[in-house]
Symmetry: C2
Subunit: 404 residues, 2 copies
Amino acid sequence: MPFSYLDHLECSRCAKVYDADSLHGLCACGSPLLARYDLERLTGSFKLEQLASRESGLWRYHELLPVSSPEGVVSLGERITPLLPLPRMGQHLDLRSLHMKDEGLLPTGTFKARGATVGVSRARQLGAERLAMPTNGNAGAAWALYAAKAGLEMLIVMPLAAPPIPRAECAISGARLFLVDGLIGDAGALVAQAVAEQGYTDISTLKEPYRLEGKKTMGLELFEQLGWRVPDVILYPTGGGVGLIGIFKALQECQQLGWIGPKLPRLVAVQATGCAPIVKAWEARAETSEAWKDASTIAFGITVPKALGDFLILRALYATGGCAVAVADSEILEAQARLASLEGSFICPEGAACFAAAAQLRQSGWLNPTDEVVVFNTGLGVLYPDTVTVQAPVLRQGDAIPAS
Amino acid sequence: MPFSYLDHLECSRCAKVYDADSLHGLCACGSPLLARYDLERLTGSFKLEQLASRESGLWRYHELLPVSSPEGVVSLGERITPLLPLPRMGQHLDLRSLHMKDEGLLPTGTFKARGATVGVSRARQLGAERLAMPTNGNAGAAWALYAAKAGLEMLIVMPLAAPPIPRAECAISGARLFLVDGLIGDAGALVAQAVAEQGYTDISTLKEPYRLEGKKTMGLELFEQLGWRVPDVILYPTGGGVGLIGIFKALQECQQLGWIGPKLPRLVAVQATGCAPIVKAWEARAETSEAWKDASTIAFGITVPKALGDFLILRALYATGGCAVAVADSEILEAQARLASLEGSFICPEGAACFAAAAQLRQSGWLNPTDEVVVFNTGLGVLYPDTVTVQAPVLRQGDAIPAS
């Protein structure tokens, strides 16, 4: 049995086919390429029970990943992320079945590790030696560290206003790091120029097909954790949208393989009111989004004014009967603090946005109290310590703790 | 079969026995109590193969943990931490078999989660409602978040000079947080007073017996990952020493159970030259340590001038033919950067100290090139972003990435 059933690449818009054995960027039509597998052959030769004896973590799904041999895998020890029951937060939100898939427990502290372990592995396998990407921070940190593990060179460009901790991660990995006085699109323009003139391989969001395959494993893991079925609703913080597109791709592949039934979870794209192009497009039932002007939110990871894969995000929302919701920064911070005090998880603002969205959707009646709801937290709260206001009295020797 | 085989508590110094069904602090003689299990009965009724079907993570060893029922477990989704091969760092250090057990992949980002999940669970089970502890940061953060999950009240006192991120974790959990202009001993004195006067349960290092049981699982996991055998050498960053004492306790219990053979790994306690009381005691072949004056190191987590369990640490070193090593802050930072650029792991200074120690021990010949060496990294590097110097040029629109 082959390690991977990768068969070819296919354009997400015009369906043009490319071979999967060499490096490809976008389709000639300018749209992202998607990895396609020989699912028919896999159905005949693989049984789900075979998974039971495999190690925990996303590489257990290697048949549905693009790396052709175990030796090609660049790993920092990814494990399955927990699906945590949140009974007290559920009670607060009037949701009887609320779970959080906590992606902060991956190497580098965010879900970006999934894209990086798969993307870096495949890039190296196909002969790339110098990678370049624009980033809002966490993706750059993840790719820089996985690239270091793989012995590849990495160029990272991130907005000056991005949170500072990912800078440290990029710097210590040995990556070339530049800051740009602008947003992620400005970083992308600088990267595109370096790719054109200096021979870097462009690994920007959806400009190569394999990061998405890593993100897809969020869906695979979730469905396996639920006993190969889907919840009623999945809330996901949405910037570039690769996570949501990946979960939808997992859904489609699992259905084609017969691993799950025909039921679809309603997918919810969560954005901030300061940058909500997908919400605006969804409300207009549009096929694509328009660039958001003056984008700004405390949830920096989802500050993406115009996503290359916007039409894929919107397709996933329409196909599953989902929706798109925008929440205010104040709601994000309130949800972040409430979750920490009720459930002990200190999550990132992007993840917290999903709990704020759940509150809105419950109030509007879009969510029922009995819906089985899964929220994805995409990263650690400690990556954004400035989101927390600390009030701590300073004591000196001879002082005492005041009675509470 | 019982969920736990906990039988009684025993003083680590005078061997006095206490019942395990109520809350106890130190023994009347002032020494830590150790949890003892009915290992004979466990040997008769349990086979290692039974572990295979259990979920990944430390609670799989529940027979050797103090919580008496699954309902008593307070979890944030702990998973087995990876044992990462480090071929490039090994080549640099001239060590042919070098692995790192990466404890940064636990909830709250440090090994402290092990002590917190077990300690908080057991404290709640025994009826504690208000917990108090002094901390250098990470333990406080872990206990504060697990206590929030458990619905318990928490009082945390930490040095003013401790790294700032754990403050945010404590604050957002809803804990009462105080800073003290002093070291961890000063924080401990304030906690002791609050315990005496305000009815808190003291969960300071080794002042209750169950945190150690959580730490013990580092050993259990490691031995299981190696196929129920031990490596030649284990390096561990040592402040209060509970991690090292826990690994040694795991060794003893696994040997009594026949899960591993008689071979002992040489345990190495790693400290910083700015706070090395255990190293000084080990060099003098002493049974206890003396308080270190003017303690200071960048590896703040191991700034413990006088550990309550010093005699237990030293016992473990002597019993296994191990040693204690001090490394300079400059060596710590060099090792941290080298590991990140060679192996893609951004680790905390305490973990990095162990790689600096490995370099010393290899140079001195204490480590052989063929020794199977396991280093414990106790936490995430991102919790200490200030240990990294970031040099990143700022570009503006119209600029270009310079050729490399």
